[in-house]
């Protein structure tokens, strides 16, 4: 039995990700939980997140999810999704600036669609006005041959919904990048961590394939 824990810290809809894991996994048991024992006994752990980073970080700290995640990534594969990915970084610009977990070096920045006297407003590569949130299906270029990309065509579209994006420091490694006014980190890998800005549980075939790959990943890289 492959035990999967979806970390629940009260932020958003975890039903979809649990259902998607049950749909793709053979012989998996999915727990949506904030219980440290359950999470630490799981074989694979999902670290989701939606909503505002300040509220997410407050709940992560209040429920000691930060300590649990630190323990998880020492020993087993962790898939961070959306704001879960952003929470791993050093700091986010959102909510006037919020310190995050610092498990991956980099910043979380706002898409600039308004522009200013010094910085022109960004447009998408087809000339469309850059709407924020970045909402919908965008293409992810794979920059490595990580096992989580197995069976997924390079350039496949995944479903995104976010206003802030991860900008990695030079020593960190993106696994996938996407263009939306800027090129940003759509996926990253660091040891036992794989993190994605898009929602695999909402990205139909490609997303389900990535979740299935995660369930058979042993954390090596």
């Amino acid at each position: 039995m492959n035990k999967v824990a979806v970390i629940d810290y009260g932020m958003g809809n975890l039903h979809s990700v649990a259902k998607a894991l049950e749909y793709v996994g053979k012989n998996v048991s999915v727990s949506v939980t904030s219980d440290a024992q359950t999470i630490l006994q799981a074989d694979h752990v999902i670290f989701p997140g939606v909503g505002a980073i300040r509220d997410c970080m407050a709940e992560i700290r209040r429920l000691h999810i930060d300590e649990i995640v630190a323990e998880v990534i020492r020993s087993k594969p962790l898939l961070a999704v959306c704001v879960g990915m952003q929470a791993l970084m050093d700091r986010s610009e959102e909510n006037g600036g919020v310190d995050c977990l610092g498990m991956v070096s980099g910043q979380v920045r706002l898409f600039n669609n308004a522009g200013s006297a010094l910085v022109p407003a960004h447009v998408d590569s087809d000339g469309s006005k850059l709407k924020v949130p970045h909402m919908g299906w965008n293409s992810v270029q794979q920059v490595d041959r990580h096992p989580l990309w197995a069976g997924i065509d390079d350039g496949s579209r995944f479903y995104f919904v976010h206003s802030y994006y991860v900008e990695l420091d030079a020593q960190e490694k993106a696994s996938g990048v996407t263009q939306y006014g800027v090129e940003f980190t759509a996926a990253l890998n660091k040891g036992n961590i794989f993190a994605v800005q898009f929602h695999p549980e909402k990205s139909q075939h490609s997303g389900l394939q990535l979740l299935s790959n995660f369930l058979s990943w042993d954390g090596s890289h």
Binding site: A20, S125, V132, W137, G155
Partner: protein, 257 residues
């Protein structure tokens, strides 16, 4: 590669059954929203919008189960609208597996509800649905106002100002329906769409009036919509989703093919 424009089929449901009819050739149960959603998802729909027109409280319990069933089988985004009036309504639908909720009349009667909802659940899941009608006389500068109750009640609120206000309150997306065009199959109100899309920073879903594939393309190319919503042209099998996507792509629109 750019962000793809989206095609969103809309299902109107009453007590857990799709109404207005869906006529697929080989579908087992034309009223089953789960089977229909799965069919659309398999065909390449980019999202599904589920509009609940159930009046009774008991009926709404059914809706929750339906949303749960769809979310267990359909792995694309799901928006639920209709009768969303309280934070508890939103929580119930998100917990059932909806990714977004669409708020319409409740926003007009209590604009702060949108602010509270966005603060509590995040802008990414708050869609504000606005029903607009042209009120300017011929020859005058175009002007549209917000109507409620299926276009029967005039609020006197300017549509552009309303869209800006809803975005400033935290709406993450606008579902814009032209009450002049809804059901007419004469195409979207393109000047309305363009005016709203150019006034706000968030994505716009164009709705109301689609009769053919060129209408969908025009919604994006002329109306500057980020997504197009349609019901009857897909439900009655006049066009399939892959046909629509191919047509739009051939017009130079970025699509997920």
């Amino acid at each position: 590669m750019a962000l793809a424009k989206r095609i969103i089929p809309c299902l109107d449901c009453d007590k857990g059954r799709v109404v207005k009819g869906v006529k697929f050739l080989d579908i087992r149960d034309a009223g089953d929203p789960v089977e229909i959603s799965k069919r659309y998802s398999d065909a390449g729909a980019d999202e599904i919008t589920f509009l609940d027109i159930t009046a009774s409280h008991e009926g709404r319990e059914t809706t929750v189960h339906t949303v749960e069933a769809i979310a267990g089988q359909v792995f694309i985004p799901l928006t639920v609208g209709g009768g969303i009036r309280t934070l508890e309504d939103i929580r119930t639908m998100l917990n059932a597996g909806a990714d977004k909720v669409s708020i319409n009349t409740a926003a007009v009667f209590n604009p702060d509800f949108v602010r509270e909802a966005a603060e509590r659940f995040g802008s990414q899941c708050i869609v504000v649905a606005m029903d607009a009608k042209k009120v300017s006389a011929p020859g005058e500068k175009d002007r549209w106002e917000i109507f409620t109750h299926g276009g029967r009640k005039h609020t006197g609120i300017d549509a552009i100002e309303w869209a800006k206000r809803m975005v400033s309150y935290g709406a993450g997306e606008i579902l814009l329906t032209s009450m002049d065009r809804d059901g007419t199959k004469s195409g979207f109100d393109l000047p309305l769409n363009r005016a709203v899309s150019e006034s706000v920073s968030v994505p716009i879903i164009a709705s109301g009036g689609v009769g053919n594939l060129q209408d969908l393309a025009d919604g994006v190319l002329e109306g500057k919509a980020d997504a197009v919503l349609a019901a009857s042209i897909f439900h009655f099998g006049e066009y399939t989703i892959p046909e629509a996507k191919r047509y739009m792509a051939d017009k130079g629109i970025t699509m997920r093919l």
